[in-house]
Amino acid sequence: MNVPHKTDSIVPDFLAGMGEDLKRGLVPVRLFNNRDIHELELRRIFARSWVFIAHETELPNPGDFVTRPIGEDPFICVRGDDGAVHVLLNSCRHRGAQICRAEMGNTRAFTCPFHGWSYKINGELAGVPARRQGYRELELSEWGLFSAPHVASYAGLIFANLDPDAVPFEQYVGRYRWYLDIQFALSPGGMEVIGEPHRWLVDANWKQGAENFCGDSSHTQMTHRSALEVGIIAAAAAGAPSKEHGLHVHDCDGYAISIRQNPGETLFWNYPEEVTRHFDPTRLSPAQFALAKRSLVHNGTLFPNFSFLHLGITDNAERPPAGFLTIRTWQPKGPGRMEIWNWILTPKEAPDDYKRRAYQVGMSSFSPSGSFEQDDVTVWPGTARSASTVFAELNNVKLNYQMGLGSMSDIAPLRDWEGPGTAVPSNAGESGLRTFYKTWLERMTISNPIRSDAR
């Protein structure tokens, strides 16, 4: 499958100085709602990055499928008879109709409702009607469904990459895997998705969610003040910026993570003992396991639009907190709109009662009805609105991402941090967000930004 490189749309001129702007902590507001940016992102970012598409536990059996977007293109993610996962373009090779019109289910074949071309679940063309009368020379083997040239499965997470020349997933993730392993590989069974994902529309750009999960710790006190007031989260987990609990890691091979911890305590994001006893120290390095043990909150984004949040919280101040993991994708739907997809996970070994409890707590905080998320998505559309103003265009308005930059802060990065990336023992900073935009700019403005050396 060829990804057209040459048809890239124009790079908007306001990106020309963004590299220098970023060094000063400035980001042009227009990138949050701009047609040219959006078109370029679909081609240079979503068609060339490793994009999260599904979790293994959503597809336990052969024939299980889900339909998911990559950028704005429709794909089917299906488990084949051999157990392998196929990522197929949801478009009939005959005349382009969508061959799969359900969002999930189980099937033995995908048969086009237009003229009846029928495909096996691995994407091969199995048959066409009236073959002897009309298609005597049709080579079925040449007309299978288009598929993503690269699919990778890591710790239950399935990613696809539409770039035939993409670097391997391991190389794409780089040293950030050190942090991902802590979330996804702590117990032998790994993490398991509970139920079907939430899907909802927000009139904000996809980057708004992606950057938020890179470590926008200082918004918690204001955006989420109502949730803090009702006492459903520990002060250390969501409280004011502090040296004691906050840790921001930036420039970890292009990615960032925000950590809240309580050194000396056994926390594991408030998972109860019936769950934590399955956490296996031999699966991680001692430093990784020690970090998991003292952690209250971890949140990060694997560029471009896959984010995770691991935390313990409750849905009622009279009940104890419960740990859970949410993963989400911020799917672009035009320049000023996104669809959020949200999954809630627990370790596979957790008892069923705990899974249900963790789901309730996750839903109550981070979902369309979540007491935290409700207020995020209320604020974000404002930025998309500002981005589309004539005023922003005429004045090349730039936003302030300077928190904690250089001499703005007197807190130096840790010299002895045991993990990868640059770790700052403070969450009064926006270094993770600056990392996100550095990565974004690099991939937007270099025509072949993450090409394999072997090419």
Partner: protein, 169 residues
């Protein structure tokens, strides 16, 4: 539960649903909570588009809301805050309840289904976001007053068209 019911039961149930809608539209959430049983089970399942042979697509594990009295109360307390930005300024809602069907009734419980349309106006948007659903409710009589004991809201949409579900259904 299969005892015969009469027009009086249906009228009482209708009065209950209309009163509830009035309180919710008027944002009198604490008074609404008084109509909710301490043992309430309140669920809004996630829905997915499925082939017809695989059913109607309502999840058994995933929910937009899965509440008991304590969590509903927590949500109401949060909405009391002036910093609950999703509802300050508030969504202006108008609930239309119709097609009320009493499924079964005894002296102390009524099982009923109804159709719900909620028109939601936010900010200066001139057009509403509309949510429609079937409600399946059980009302229980407690100390001579009807209370909402169980609610299952079956949404017609799979993708929520509103940025936050910060209202009660």
């Amino acid at each position: 539960m299969n005892a015969p019911f009469d027009a009086g039961t249906e009228a009482e149930a209708t009065r209950f649903l209309n009163r509830e809608a009035e309180l919710l539209d008027n944002r009198e959430f604490h008074r609404w909570l008084e109509m909710v049983s301490a043992n309430i089970r309140y669920r809004v399942p996630v829905r997915t588009t499925r082939q017809n042979k695989e059913g109607r697509g309502f999840s058994e594990k995933a929910f937009f809301l899965d509440e008991d009295h304590g969590t509903l109360k927590t949500r109401v307390l949060r909405l009391d805050s002036e910093f609950a930005w999703s509802e300050n300024p508030a969504t202006r809602t108008r609930r239309i309840i119709g097609n009320i069907r009493v499924r079964s009734a005894t002296a102390d419980t009524v099982a009923l289904a109804s159709n719900l349309a909620i028109f939601c106006y936010r900010g200066d948007a001139a057009a509403p976001i509309i949510l429609t659903a079937e409600r399946q409710d059980i009302l229980g009589r407690e100390n001579s007053a009807w209370k909402l004991a169980d609610r299952l809201v079956l949404l017609d949409t799979t993708v929520l068209g509103m940025e936050s579900l910060s209202i009660f259904l």
